[in-house]
Symmetry: C2
Subunit: 277 residues, 2 copies
Amino acid sequence: MLSEEQAAVVPGDHVFDQAIAFRPAGAGLLTGASHPAYANMVGPYGGIIAAIMLNAVLCQENLLGEPVSLTVNYAAPIADGDYTLQVRTVRTNRSTQHWAVELVQDHGVAVFATVLTAIRRDTWEASDVTFPQVPAADQVAPFPTQGRAPWAACYDMRFMSGGPDALNGDATVPEIRVWVRDQPPRPLDFPALAAICDAFFPMIYARKQKRVPIGTVSLTTYFHANAAELQQTGTRHVLGVARSHRYGKGFFDQSGLFWSPDGVLLASTHQVIYFKA
Amino acid sequence: MLSEEQAAVVPGDHVFDQAIAFRPAGAGLLTGASHPAYANMVGPYGGIIAAIMLNAVLCQENLLGEPVSLTVNYAAPIADGDYTLQVRTVRTNRSTQHWAVELVQDHGVAVFATVLTAIRRDTWEASDVTFPQVPAADQVAPFPTQGRAPWAACYDMRFMSGGPDALNGDATVPEIRVWVRDQPPRPLDFPALAAICDAFFPMIYARKQKRVPIGTVSLTTYFHANAAELQQTGTRHVLGVARSHRYGKGFFDQSGLFWSPDGVLLASTHQVIYFKA
């Protein structure tokens, strides 16, 4: 039986499905190509890369369960064009499975990732964080993506704080708050959520009050939701809230939470980012 | 020239140095053995495993810079006895270097990790979090480690909230606050800090008001400090503060910060933990 997330690997009409699609190329090998719609300043948008790495696991025949944890290491820019994905099952336990994925081009390994999937059973449920009091997505102005890198137009983003607009005079912004969904709308699934988890603009733009050279070097996302909870979100916006902890010696970190509009915590996400300033 | 952290791989008199020591076993191969002092309920304490994985990188001759990011995936329990570490340089850039490490025993890969090291240069510095107002370490009672798993006795832990003592009647504890240092005292370095980043007790013990079966499945630590800042901490306690976000479907996450007693943010650390309840 194809699970919800496996169905997503079949390239559909949506540009996101095209961007994360690939074709089999031998045992544990897949080939794909960078999609211009998700281009960033140098190479593809980090979020689409995260989705590709996760999708490479989710389409495997021996997949056990749903994603729990994803770590993506951005080792070098992906050049425009084709790439090969090498997918390896590191360990299969009774209810958990560990994966390693490498994205390789002629110049070597550009990206490598580790993924944990698990059969998730109903257990005790609780949350230690509360859904923030924010206006509904339709009460917030969409962020204008003209003049931005192409990937930004693949999202409908509605910043309440911490967006690039904060460049105009608020160097103390401690928190990013943004409603975000795919543009055009697309039902939420694990690859889409993995991509959205990188859809914050780097906090340092607001803190420094200017654009500085940056690049995510490692990103980790923990998925709290199962496929059913993602399905319930459908094509609606999800709420992202993020903070940084420390900037210095060429790197800073950024940690975020993503909520469904119904107040369900879908994922927590963390990254460490190179900067020059 | 041996860097500060390289010096630490030479087994010293301290039990921590013995526990993370290994000997060369061919190109990219090291062998080590589990140390009884850091035993947990099943296999070694996760923090000592993190230190071992990091140390395997820090002792490499072609090492570039200092650790920035460490992700450890706990795929299976480590059996008592010998293990082999396979260390691979995935990519070397001008100022960053990406690593993959696997800890292998007869039963297969037990643990695998990814590490980013970088030459860290002075840049703009800032912090978006403030050092918590807490009593000094010597004003807080040490946590009694008798009757606990052996590893607990390798630390001097002083809980202000969220410790296993919270099992007595506070099921709402939202935050762990603890002063911690190696026992006996040992100057802080990167492997020691990597190990300490796992020295929170799992929040679910307090939330459920009982011990439940748990196990960390993936741990990510971002190092904000450089070797000089760790040296300044010396043998003093570091302050750990941690929270969880969501518990459900067999897993919960926990995110923490570790501060020097001088108020310098040394690391942020995140993990996702299996539980049965």
